[in-house]
């Protein structure tokens, strides 16, 4: 199966300010569960996208660095071959899919993911009425025992594909924006088709500042990071 799309993202760390807008946008778009204090203290936060913060150096020569981490949609994804029921699969566009109603909750995939971006529903989550009104009809609400993770907002990709098909054209560059990229005030996140060398992501991913997360593991992520600044960078 081939596809003319290979979805990818560029995360420009020189733009990212660590503000967290993307984290909430993702949670809002994808019906990601609200987790209380206890659950998070057990290490069971459900966010699909997190901002890692690193301290580098010591006072007064100290710097903080931010790194948005989401599913890297690896082309050689360690999570896929270990799933006994093929809930974690690779789709023709290069996306790392997750079929919720196939998942039996072995958590092998989560265990194998070096980026720790897969989150497991250890509990059934609630949206006390009327908070449940905010749940998006585009997404299932995952139940206890199911693994979930970032999908690059596949519902938006699907819709754009349908639109494009009905108009007999291909998807335009910038037509799809995952919720995180859409809201990011600094434009640190750019999404698009890596297979099109003229797309904005493809151009940015050729920047000399590029690197991939834990590149040495050979996972071949679809996400390309651009190195952040600091005085050494000017």
């Amino acid at each position: 199966m081939t596809s003319q799309y290979r979805w990818g993202m560029v995360v420009d760390l020189d733009r990212c300010t660590g503000c967290g807008a993307c984290v909430v946008a993702c949670q809002a778009e994808n019906n990601v569960a609200i987790c209380g204090k206890k659950e998070i203290s057990e290490g069971r936060n459900m966010h699909w996208l997190r901002i890692e913060r690193f301290w580098v150096g010591q006072y007064p020569d100290v710097r903080a660095r931010f790194l948005p981490v989401l599913c890297q949609h690896c082309h050689d994804a360690p999570c896929e071959p270990v799933c006994p029921v093929y809930a974690s699969y690779h789709n023709p566009d290069g996306l790392n899919g997750q079929v919720y109603n196939r998942c039996v909750g072995t958590r092998y995939c989560g265990n194998n993911c070096p980026y720790a971006v897969r989150v497991f529903n250890f509990y059934n989550h609630e949206w006390p009425n009327p908070l449940d009104n905010q749940l998006s009809p585009d997404m299932t609400v995952r139940t206890r025992g199911v693994m979930e993770k970032c999908t690059f907002c596949i519902q938006r990709i699907r819709r754009a594909k349908e639109d494009a098909k009905s108009e007999n054209r291909t998807i335009r560059d910038g037509e799809i924006q995952p919720a995180c990229a859409q809201t990011c005030p600094t434009d640190a996140l750019v999404f698009g088709n890596m297979a099109d060398p003229r797309s904005r992501v493809a151009i940015l991913s050729r920047s000399p500042r590029r690197f991939r997360l834990l590149e040495h593991l050979g996972t071949h992520p679809s996400i390309c990071y651009l190195k952040g600044g600091g005085r050494e960078h000017v």
């Binding site: 020189d14 733009r15 300010t17 660590g18 503000c19 967290g20 807008a21 984290v23 909430v24 946008a25 949670q27 809002a28 609200i34 209380g36 204090k37 998070i40 203290s41 936060n45 997190r50 890692e52 913060r53 690193f54 301290w55 580098v56 150096g57 006072y59 007064p60 100290v62 710097r63 903080a64 660095r65 790194l67 006390p128 009327p130 908070l131 449940d132 009104n133 905010q134 998006s136 009809p137 585009d138 519902q155 938006r156 819709r159 037509e175 924006q177 859409q182 809201t183 990011c184 005030p185 600094t186 434009d187 690197f211 997360l213 834990l214 190195k227 600044g229 600091g230 960078h233 000017v234």
Partner: protein, 730 residues
């Protein structure tokens, strides 16, 4: 499809599907039209344009509605402030609408104040109770016994509340909020003779020097300036703007800086003058700019004589070399831009320190120039001494002269107890709250007349700053009201109507919507030939009036009678021996001044700098923590001359050893299940400075003591970050 047909179709569908059985036929929903060439497809569903009122920035939003329910909020790509982007708080506005603890109908108190015991009453009864009290005041000819306290209002609502109070005959009308830019306006008035806030052209600058202005998390217009910051860094082919941050605590904004200068609190103005003096002494200034502003380098240099490098280095606690380097870089990289923010303004010498920063912009020729500062057109004027007005109101209340207090917002939470507000309010026999959650103030109210959520409301949202073109954002209801609530201005109109006489004559409008339309019509300056109803629909569809006829403010020019800025030595409450640390209470990224706390998404959002969730913490320098035997997550007691709090410690490498910092926004007594009982409110520690009528919230000293090893701190990430930074190469 033509815009016209789409619009008609959309209106019909929306009115039929969503607002079935709605009270007024005026309340038609006008869907946003996504222009096909805009390059976004945010998914289908119907989008409605409105405005965010979760902070004074006033960003434009699009709300995705399906089956009559608001699902997701996105930025309005057409809105000049935020251009399709939103902050975390803006995303969470939908949780205001669907909060499970909203006050669903009017309430009357039936237990002791603060107990939270209320009985349900009807709107008729509620407005009746209020008007009875007001009529009694009119009968006794003591109309000044009415007080109205709100956050800063702009636009039609400000006009309406003003008219209400004036006609009623009361001067006790105070608009106050904790993070008010009053002091920035005072400084601008002293320097430039106009109270206009600065508009920063960050996107075009090459050297950004911020003195405590946290422009990506809270200062004036975070989305606007966050976006401009991204452009400054990587939006231009060959230039990457440099950013230096001055401030004793590394804020979220400071974390993006190339150079962090942890100056002693209160010394920022002195540092700015030290930089100014060096620029003058080394003739690095823009002589044209100086001449244009009627200043003479020689005279100015003489006036700043005291700010020589060694002294400034000593006062600010920074190395001389670094100060000189920054001064030279700032003066030789054009355009350069200096900002001054709340962290500086809320020191005892705040306004003069802010003025010192103005002088820096002047010296490098950055007034009214690309990459520099312009007078902001968002709200060119606004309150300049609301704190003094608040203090006056507190005095009046304490004297027992206020009989009815109408309160919008939550001052019992957001006014520091050191002002005496809490005791004074307790003396008011009748308190009316318009809160939609039982917040700290509503819990003490005698009558709660719950307001609509923002997504159920009409309104105009005028940004406090962040634009060079005046504009009016519009709010429209995007869903049918969930509960039996009423919009605050509607209640004012209904009350005026009930009161009759002069009040009814002065506020004759049928509805707030009519009033709003009238105001917008005036603003837009539509000629006689324009079909206003059609134009109004068009405005709603796009989210506001982005081109107005109002004149832009005139450029900044140094006032001929303005003396050079001379910040006094900073002054702190509490003596250094007993209270060795400076306390900084800063707005948490997720909560702003506390308004974000009720929403679970924001409680769950890890604080960007500490990754703490669901709680408060105190940030302590690692060295200081070690000296006091305090470890990460330990329970610590923080005491000031004003109060004592217990909370967990976060060992924080980005803070001066003589400083501790606590985020604002938590520690609510009420405000629904998600906020209640989470963390502490650092305002309990903040002391007032002598008799000064100035809100120097960052001028308190504290001491810290370790209590135990269990502070119940929960962080989402590892304190150092869960991946090793060498491995990820950042």
């Amino acid at each position: 499809m033509k815009r016209r047909t789409f619009l008609q179709l959309g209106t019909v569908i929306a009115a039929g599907a969503v607002l079935d059985g709605c009270r007024s036929k005026n309340e038609q929903l006008i869907p946003y039209l996504i222009p096909p060439d805009e390059g976004i497809t945010p998914g289908k569903g119907t989008y409605y344009a409105s405005s965010c009122n979760a902070c004074p920035a006033g960003c434009g939003i699009l709300v995705r509605v399906s089956e009559g329910r608001a699902k997701k909020i996105e930025g309005n790509p057409e809105h000049p402030i935020n251009r399709g982007k939103l902050c975390a708080r803006g995303q969470a506005v939908v949780q205001e609408l669907y909060h499970p603890d909203r006050v669903p109908h009017p309430l009357k108190r039936n237990g002791p104040r603060g107990s939270g015991a209320f009985t349900r009453i009807s709107w008729q009864e509620g407005i009746g109770l209020l008007t009875d009290r007001l009529k009694a005041l009119q009968r006794e000819q003591s109309t000044n016994g009415l007080a109205l306290l709100t956050p800063h209002l702009r636009g039609t609502l400000a006009e309406l509340t003003g008219r209400f109070m004036r006609t009623f005959g009361s001067t006790n009308h105070v608009s106050y909020e904790l993070l008010t830019p009053d002091l920035l306006r005072i400084a601008a008035r002293r320097s430039f003779g106009q109270p206009t806030l600065p508009y920063y052209d960050i996107a075009e600058t090459r050297y950004l020097l911020s003195f405590g202005a946290d422009f990506v998390d809270s200062h004036l217009s975070p989305v606007k300036y966050g976006s401009a910051f991204g452009e400054m860094r990587q939006g231009r082919d060959t230039v990457r703007g440099h950013f230096t941050y001055v401030g004793g605590r590394m804020s979220l904004t400071a974390a993006s800086a190339d150079r962090w200068m942890p100056a002693k609190p209160g010394s920022e103005g002195t540092l700015a003058l030290g930089i100014a003096r060096l620029i003058l002494a080394e003739s690095l200034y823009d002589s044209g700019a100086l001449a244009m502003n009627g200043l003479e380098a020689k005279k100015l240099l003489a006036a700043l004589d005291r700010y020589d490098l060694p002294r400034v280095a000593q006062l600010s606690g920074l190395p001389q070399g670094a100060i000189a380097e920054v001064a030279r870089e700032f003066a030789s990289t054009r355009p350069a831009l200096a900002l001054a923010g709340e962290m500086v303004a809320f020191q005892s010498n705040g306004p003069e320190s802010v003025r010192a920063v103005h002088l820096l912009n002047l010296l490098v020729g950055s007034l009214n120039r690309p990459g520099g500062i312009y007078p902001d057109a968002g709200s060119p004027s606004g309150p300049e001494n609301s704190f003094a007005e608040l203090i006056a109101l507190i005095e009046t209340m304490r004297g027992g002269h206020v009989k009815v207090a109408m309160i919008h917002g939550d001052p019992l939470y957001s006014v520091p107890p050191a002002t005496g507000f809490h005791d004074a309010l307790a003396k008011v026999p009748f308190i009316v709250s318009f809160s939609s959650l039982l917040d700290d103030t509503a819990l003490h109210a005698d009558l709660v007349l719950p307001d609509h959520a923002a997504l159920e409301s009409w309104g105009d949202v005028i940004p406090v700053a962040g634009t060079r073109e005046p504009l009016v954002g519009l709010m429209q209801p995007v869903v049918e009201p969930l509960f039996d609530t009423r919009q605050f201005p509607e209640v004012l109109l209904a009350t005026a109507h009930e009161l009759g006489g002069r009040m009814a004559a002065a506020l004759p409008d049928e509805s707030y919507l009519e009033l709003l339309k009238g105001a917008v019509r005036k603003q837009a300056g539509f000629g006689a030939g324009v079909d206003f109803e059609a134009a109004w629909v068009d405005l709603l569809q796009h989210g506001g009036l982005f081109k107005t006829k109002s004149v832009q403010p005139t450029g900044y020019r140094w006032s001929s009678d303005a003396p050079p800025p001379l910040p006094e030595d900073p002054d702190f409450a509490g003596d250094q021996k007993t209270y060795p640390f400076h306390l900084i209470a800063y707005p948490a990224t997720a909560f702003y001044d506390g308004r974000g706390a009720p929403y679970p998404w924001l409680q769950q959002l890890p604080d960007p700098m500490t990754t703490v969730v669901w709680g408060s913490w105190v940030e302590i320098n690692p060295e200081t923590a070690a000296e006091h035997g305090i470890g990460f997550g330990d329970l610590v007691e923080v005491s000031s001359p004003q109060g004592t709090l217990r909370l967990p410690a976060v060992v924080y490498p980005g803070i001066r050893p003589d400083m501790v910092a606590i985020p604002l926004g938590q520690g609510h007594r009420g405000m629904g299940r998600y906020a209640q009982g989470q963390g502490v409110n650092p305002l309990a520690l903040v002391a007032r400075q002598g008799t000064k009528q100035q809100p120097a919230w960052n001028a308190t000293r504290v001491r810290i003591t370790r209590i135990s090893g269990n502070g119940e701190l929960v962080t989402a990430g590892h304190p150092q970050g869960s991946l090793r930074s060498e491995l990820v190469e950042i």
